[in-house]
């Protein structure tokens, strides 16, 4: 039985915006009141024009918190699902937009370039009502829903307490798993809640040199792993995303080391899934990465265009990396559910020896321990 009482590293500094903008009419919302109470010294602007709340640069967006209502559909199919790729049928729901971290490879640099402010939505209850209706309409299906596609699921939790609303909601429902995906160690609320096996907390991990140079502002790898151990000890299942895998000098040592570190203090029977994914970029994202002030070494690998229009390191290197990662992960525990994100069936066949239908991939991931 692995150790579960690893001494935690020092807690990662919690994000504080330089300014808060609140949509007119939402000033008395629970969220706005909570944030203002916790950040009394931060300047607040009340605005009737949300466009005015958007800063002129993506970097500026990382310093501003906008509190507003969300007016779209909360639940959507994961945008990573693309024709021709094996897909895990993941759904995403957005209770926030953008992320205070500044990973060099982040697709949000392109996807949210025109609305970059970090946003938290006041009407999470509307989103939960939408989810509830979906779950009631399909009682025979088990859904996987994540909140970490257009935002970090927990990076704002010290301000919003969103997890205190989400975990009890999902804990009461039997045909859904909630995934909270993060690069933070913002888990204090989670430790007070009972997920009843309906909530998976996941961390994105990378080789140490990539985390150091390309994931500024995030919790250190040690802090993330320590948080995973504490969360698992508190009753949650955990998961990891080795995504994006970056081909770089010394990648084998780097990824082998992080896998060893990640699982050293965990019960692998309580690891819900592990995903692998290669760096992939639209032209817009590549341009955004090139425009960053420091040269991003992630662009140095042999990136070639794929059938979906995104650039990835060419297939020979990707397959080699996936196979090696698979070997190391199977050495940790041969039963851990594994999948690859945004790759065609041909790559799945080379790595796993099979390319199952999407619904089979989805079923395996919700199957549980």
């Amino acid at each position: 039985m692995p150790e579960t009482n690893a001494a935690p590293s020092a807690v990662h500094t919690r994000w504080r915006p330089e300014s808060i903008w609140i949509e007119h009419g939402e000033e008395e919302s629970d969220l706005a009141r909570r944030v203002r109470t916790r950040l009394p010294e931060v300047a607040v602007e009340i605005t009737g024009d949300l466009r005015a709340a958007e800063p002129s640069s993506f970097a500026g967006g990382k310093r501003r918190l906008v509190i507003q209502r969300y007016r779209g559909a909360f639940v959507q199919h994961c945008p990573a699902g693309t024709t021709g790729m094996v897909c895990c049928n993941y759904l995403v729901t957005n209770f926030a937009s953008n992320c205070p971290f500044d990973c060099s490879y982040c697709f949000l640099q392109d996807y949210l370039k025109n609305n970059p402010a970090v946003k938290a939505f006041t009407n999470a209850s509307d989103g939960l009502a939408e989810i509830d209706a979906l779950l009631r309409a399909h009682p025979q299906r088990t859904f996987r829903i994540g909140t970490g596609e257009l935002a970090d699921s927990l990076a704002l939790d010290h301000l919003t307490d969103l997890s205190s609303e989400l975990v009890p909601f999902f804990a009461q429902r039997t045909n859904v798993l909630l995934e909270l995906k993060t690069k933070s160690d913002c888990i204090d609320n989670l430790l007070r809640l009972d997920p009843r096996d309906r909530v998976v907390v996941s961390w994105s991990l990378n080789a140490a040199v990539i985390a150091t140079h390309d994931e500024p502002g995030t919790a250190t790898l040690e802090q993330r792993i320590a948080a995973a151990a504490r969360v698992q000890a508190a009753g949650y299942r955990v998961a990891f995303h080795f995504d994006p895998l970056i081909a770089h000098d010394g990648w084998e040592d780097g990824y082998r080391d992080i896998i060893e570190q990640a699982f050293r203090h965990l019960d692998t029977r309580r690891v819900a899934w592990v995903s692998l994914g290669s760096l992939r970029m639209t032209a817009g994202l590549k341009a955004a990465i090139k425009a960053r002030p420091q040269h991003a070494a992630i662009l140095d690998s042999e990136l070639v265009p794929g059938p979906d229009g995104k650039e990835r390191v060419w297939r020979g290197v990707r397959v080699k990396m996936y196979r090696q990662m698979l070997r190391w992960l199977r050495d940790v525990d041969a039963e851990m559910p594994l999948y690859i994100c945004m790759e065609p069936a041909g790559v799945w066949e080379k790595v796993f020896g099979e390319a199952p239908p999407d619904r089979v991939v989805a079923q395996r991931l919700v199957a549980g321990p």
């Binding site: 662009l299 042999e302 059938p307 060419w314 297939r315 020979g316 397959v319 041909g346 080379k350």
Partner: protein, 180 residues
């Protein structure tokens, strides 16, 4: 700071070739030595804007990866060999693009060379072509047969049948599949 003569020369050339403002803006951001080197290239080979854009992107990515200047990249031996080849302008542009591609994608190029060697080992007739996926993003071969008679078609089929039984053919698919 860019030499004004070089700048003016490039802008005149760009106007003649109808390069877009975006290309001229990109040019204006170059360091002086890089601008001079690039001007030399465009004067030699007179690329269209699309041709220049593709070459330029690879040059920049090679320079960034290797911590060199664009001028250094353009002066490297394989690049100069392509630029100086005893061929027409279009052929030299094609050779230059190939040389830059090899510099940008060395492992991919090595894999493509290996596949080309294996395809040659099949000794297929000229009217039968095996085409690998672009950038090797796939594990299937496309076979193209050009036939002007039933006899030619039968000959092509027989050649393919024989080739399929060779060790080189098995190795070809193994390489495509990324087998170690």
């Amino acid at each position: 700071m860019m030499d004004s003569t070089i700048d003016a020369t490039f802008r005149t050339f760009a106007a003649e070739r109808r390069y877009s403002p975006a290309t001229i803006e990109r040019w204006a951001r170059l360091a002086a030595t890089d601008a001079s080197a690039l001007l030399g290239l465009v004067e030699e080979l007179r690329p269209s804007e699309n041709q220049l854009r593709d070459l330029w992107t690879w040059m920049e990515e090679i320079a960034a990866r290797d911590r060199r200047t664009l001028a250094d990249v353009l002066a490297a031996a394989p690049i100069m060999a392509a630029r100086r080849a005893a061929s027409g302008r279009n052929d030299r542009l094609r050779l230059l693009k190939g040389a830059l591609r090899r510099e940008r994608f060395p492992q991919l190029s090595a894999a493509e060379d290996q596949l080309a060697t294996l395809i040659r080992a099949l000794e297929l007739p000229r009217h039968v072509r095996l085409i690998t996926p672009e950038y090797l993003e796939g594990d299937t071969l496309r076979i193209e047969i050009t036939a002007n008679s039933a006899a030619t078609l039968r000959a092509a089929a027989a050649a393919l049948l024989a080739a399929a039984a060779t060790p080189a053919c098995a190795q070809l698919f193994a390489v495509l599949a990324g087998a170690e």
